[in-house]
């Protein structure tokens, strides 16, 4: 069964008149674990943000579960893991409170949180190995643990597809392992994954397909390229040749 979960057709995205993505097409079918690879500034994060409608398309189209992105309303089917915790954290919040936000897509704005919500939050925290930190303020967690909190938030909504923006960037080894474990469990439960990464690390065995973005276009779509000695994949190698391609502000949001 190959129902397209995400379908990007000839998408183009530009900021201030400068093209970041040009004529990108990508289809992700149910059960796939697709990694979007590329150097900093290649446009790979923009691709995932365009899929979610967080940046407007200049041309082309995006469909989610067969529905045009603009008319898509079943957001509970999607779990989004941003690169890092949002800036708006002036007031302390516990890990449990942040993860509980992940239930809103399913529950709606007005219905109070019930037992199913609490169970889903507890299960998501167990899946990322943070069950004992539910009552701790997120600000006291390490970067890797904060990242796991965000993954738990996405998992708490019991989505069908996970979209992750650089989930392992700057994350300690223990958190990377916990993260790979959670992702494997999600895939084994029938979930689909689209993730942006700079390097794969312990995620490598999970990836069923790799897409390499280079200078706003897709230059490879298929098997995961070898990490070293494969300079035929220009965007992949762990170097930073195109860092000034995009303004820094885009990545820090």
């Amino acid at each position: 069964m190959t129902e397209p979960v995400i379908q990007v057709s000839h998408a183009a995205v530009g900021y201030d008149g400068r093209a970041v993505l040009r004529d990108v097409s990508l289809t992700v079918t149910a059960g796939e674990v697709v990694a979007v690879l590329g150097a900093n500034g290649s446009g790979k994060s923009t691709l995932i943000r365009a899929v979610l409608g967080l940046v407007p398309l200049g041309a082309g189209s995006v469909a989610l579960f067969g529905t045009p992105q603009r008319r898509f309303r079943q957001w509970h089917r999607i779990g989004y893991v941003p690169q890092r915790l949002g800036a708006g954290s002036g007031v302390p919040a516990t890990v449990g409170e942040v993860v509980a936000s992940g239930r809103l897509a399913r529950r709606g704005v007005l219905r109070p949180s019930g037992r199913a919500d609490r169970e889903a939050v507890a299960e998501a925290l167990r899946a990322v190995g943070l069950a004992d930190r539910a009552g701790d303020p997120v600000a006291t967690l390490s970067g890797g643990q904060q990242q796991r909190t965000l993954i738990a938030r996405a998992l708490a909504g019991r989505p069908e597809v996970l979209l992750l923006d650089e989930p392992t960037a700057g994350v300690d080894a223990a958190s990377q392992e916990a993260f790979a474990h959670a992702l494997r469990a999600f895939r084994d439960g029938g979930g689909t994954v689209l993730l942006v990464a700079h390097e794969l690390g312990p995620l490598r065995p999970l990836i069923s397909r790799a897409v390499v973005v280079h200078q706003g276009g897709i230059c490879h779509d298929g098997a995961v390229p070898e990490p070293a000695g494969h300079h035929a994949e220009p965007g992949h190698d762990h170097v930073h040749p195109h860092c000034d391609e995009e303004p820094a502000g885009l990545w820090s949001m």
Binding site: L52, G53, L54, R73, Q74, W75, H76, I78, Y80, P82, L85, G86, A87, G88, S89, G90, V91, P92, A93, T94, G96, E97, V98, A100, S101, G102, R103, L104, A105, V109, L110, P112, S113, G135, D136, P137, A139, T140, L141, S142, R153, G157, M253
Partner: protein
Amino acid sequence: MDLFQYDFMLRALVGALVIGLAAPALGIYLVQRRLALIGDGIGHVALTGVGAGLLLNRSPVLVAVVAATLGAIVIELVRSRGRTSGDLALALLFYGGIAGGVMLVGLSDASSGSLNAYLFGSLTTTSPADLVTILVLGVAILVTMLVLRPALFAVCHDEEYARVSGLPVRALNLLLAVGTAVTVTIAMRAVGVLLISALMVVPVATAQQVTRGFRATMGAAMALGLFAAGAGVWVAATADTAPGASVVLLAIGSFLVVALLAAGRRALRRRTRPVAVPVAEPPEHEVVLR
């Protein structure tokens, strides 16, 4: 306490207590979003409404609610588009608001004392009709902020994630803006437009010195707001001081006491447990003192 046998005193006290609960319940979302000073700006705009109300012989509180709401919606639209030009647009709105207010109050028959009453609060001016307005709107704000806490928390914590969750982000942002305007205007009587922002922000800043989570912070801030408002009105009545100033100074006094106690507790803990546990202390004072 004999003072509270007078009806006007009782009205002032009840109004202040409702505001003491509602202002921090709304203010916590503003602090979370790092918009701690927005209430102050909306207060300036509300003053134009007061002036217009006095000039037109309508209820100043109701006209101010309308003016502040319109101002808040404009501010929110500027913010959501927001880039650097928004900063200047806000400045124009704020100073235009206060200048318009002073001008209109001057044109009306009202004395200069009544302008002061709206700027800094006054115990004797809360009419029975005002109290009804304060009660109805204050309770509405309180209930909305409590019922929508998960959604508003999500929007203020991570707006993009909220959008991808399918939440009505724009509607919730507008609700918050309108709520701020309403809170500012109903609090005019008790603490005045120039000081209301303090009652939204300072109890939250105090609470988060010692709390670990959002819900706990909200509860503690509401308790602190209730205390500052009640005690402030009592002090104002007893010592014949401006109620707004009394309420705000009590709130700031609580902040200093709690901040010192929290710092002492941290120091003590560091001494008994030499290995520091927290990785990164959140910059707790930043919100108020910026």
